[in-house]
């Protein structure tokens, strides 16, 4: 009976581990580019909007992915596209080497004005942390997939790959991460909404309330 119980326990644990193991499998869901108006480098929205949302993200952060998939569409339609808020992306790469690699590649995409679609495909392809999903090879492949899905986007794959190989954009990711840490950011996603901090994934209602509060304060101050 004891031996049987031990055997059952081991089978159960092995099952849990198999279901929850790190893996290098890449999500190959077809990439559908979003339409974003008023994009300027890593800023999205009207630069004169009364509310500025500084968004700190790590491309390996699964909660950041949830924000992008679950909250961002509504945020876009209600606040960004209506000129009420502008979003500014900042790197906060703290989940390991592949966070820096992905961020650095995103900066290479930024050099060609394609930061936001590359940002989207990185989160779409996100997998287990530091498992090879954001290898140099995959980062280049994702860029090619992005360009294929968005043929109107002016894109030089060779230039992107050269940029990734050179690694010089890593300094931008490191600098922004250090600045974020100095400012007290310790996890992602984190947001500064006209200076008011939100840490973690908010509900849409609480995010909206914070933005509207900032909007009212900005309207009262002007």
């Amino acid at each position: 009976m004891t031996v049987g119980a031990i055997g059952l326990a081991l089978v159960f644990v092995i099952g849990l581990i198999v279901l929850n193991r790190p893996g290098a499998s890449v999500d190959n869901t077809p990439f559908e580019p979003k339409t974003r108006a008023q994009v300027d480098a890593k800023t999205w929205g009207d630069p004169l909007a009364p509310v500025r949302i500084v968004m700190f993200e790590d491309f390996q952060c699964p909660v950041c992915r949830r924000f992008t998939e679950e909250l961002e569409p509504q945020l876009a339609s209600e606040f960004i596209e209506t000129g009420r808020a502008v979003v500014e992306f900042h790197h906060m790469a703290f989940l390991g080497a592949e966070s820096f690699a992905a961020g650095s590649a995103a900066e290479c995409a930024n050099e060609q004005g394609a930061f936001w679609p590359y940002h989207d495909i990185l989160f779409l392809r996100q997998g287990a942390e530091n498992s090879g999903v954001f290898s140099t090879k995959n980062l280049k492949t994702f860029a090619g997939q992005m360009a294929t899905a968005e043929p109107a986007l002016p894109w030089d794959q060779a230039a992107f790959e050269g940029c990734v190989d050179a690694g010089q954009t890593m300094a931008i990711v490191e600098q922004q991460t250090n600045e974020a840490s100095t400012a007290g950011v310790s996890s992602t996603p984190s947001f500064l909404i006209n200076g008011e901090a939100i840490v973690g994934l908010p509900t849409y209602d609480s995010l909206k309330a914070t933005i509207e509060r900032a909007e009212a304060a900005a309207g009262g101050a002007s």
């Binding site: 009976m1 004891t2 049987g4 031990i6 081991l10 849990l16 699964p62 942390e129 310790s186």
Partner: protein, 143 residues
């Protein structure tokens, strides 16, 4: 063992509550980064929060041990009881060790509450060993 398991219920209940309420900041104390761990993909198995699995484990242990101390099994506990407690504690200890490995080498962040739970279940495992050994000897006819 019962008291230790009750401590485990408290820890797992707190982590479960946090898991269903992501806006609540986890109080981690001066050590670790619970938010990173709790928001990683390893915080759930097939859609079930790991903390909830842990809570279920500790509730099962409290139920079995409570029944043995005060309940219908106080006088005549079933022969399978020590093996069941041992098996649950063994599974919990092994899986907690795996989760700790993930924190250290994959997630790169430590959740102090999760480590506390690992220590608790490992303690229950050690405390359950003598009864399980005794039950094994009875099964073998050595006693």
């Amino acid at each position: 063992m019962l008291v230790v398991s009750l401590v485990g219920v408290g820890i797992a209940a707190y982590l479960t509550k946090v898991g269903f309420d992501p806006e609540r900041a986890i109080a981690c104390g001066p050590l670790g980064d619970c938010h990173t761990v709790q928001s990683s993909q390893y915080a759930g198995v097939a859609g079930v929060p790991v903390a909830l699995l842990g809570l279920g484990m500790y509730v099962a242990l409290v139920g079995l041990l409570g029944a043995r101390r005060w309940g219908p099994w106080a006088v005549d506990p079933p022969p399978w009881l020590p093996a069941a407690v041992f098996a649950i504690a063994l599974a919990g200890t092994l899986y907690s060790a795996y989760l700790t490995y993930l924190e250290l080498w994959v997630i790169d962040a430590i959740c102090a509450w999760c480590v506390a739970s690992a220590v608790v279940i490992a303690t229950v495992f050690v405390l359950a060993l003598p009864d399980a050994r005794a039950a094994g000897r009875i099964e073998d006819g050595d006693v």
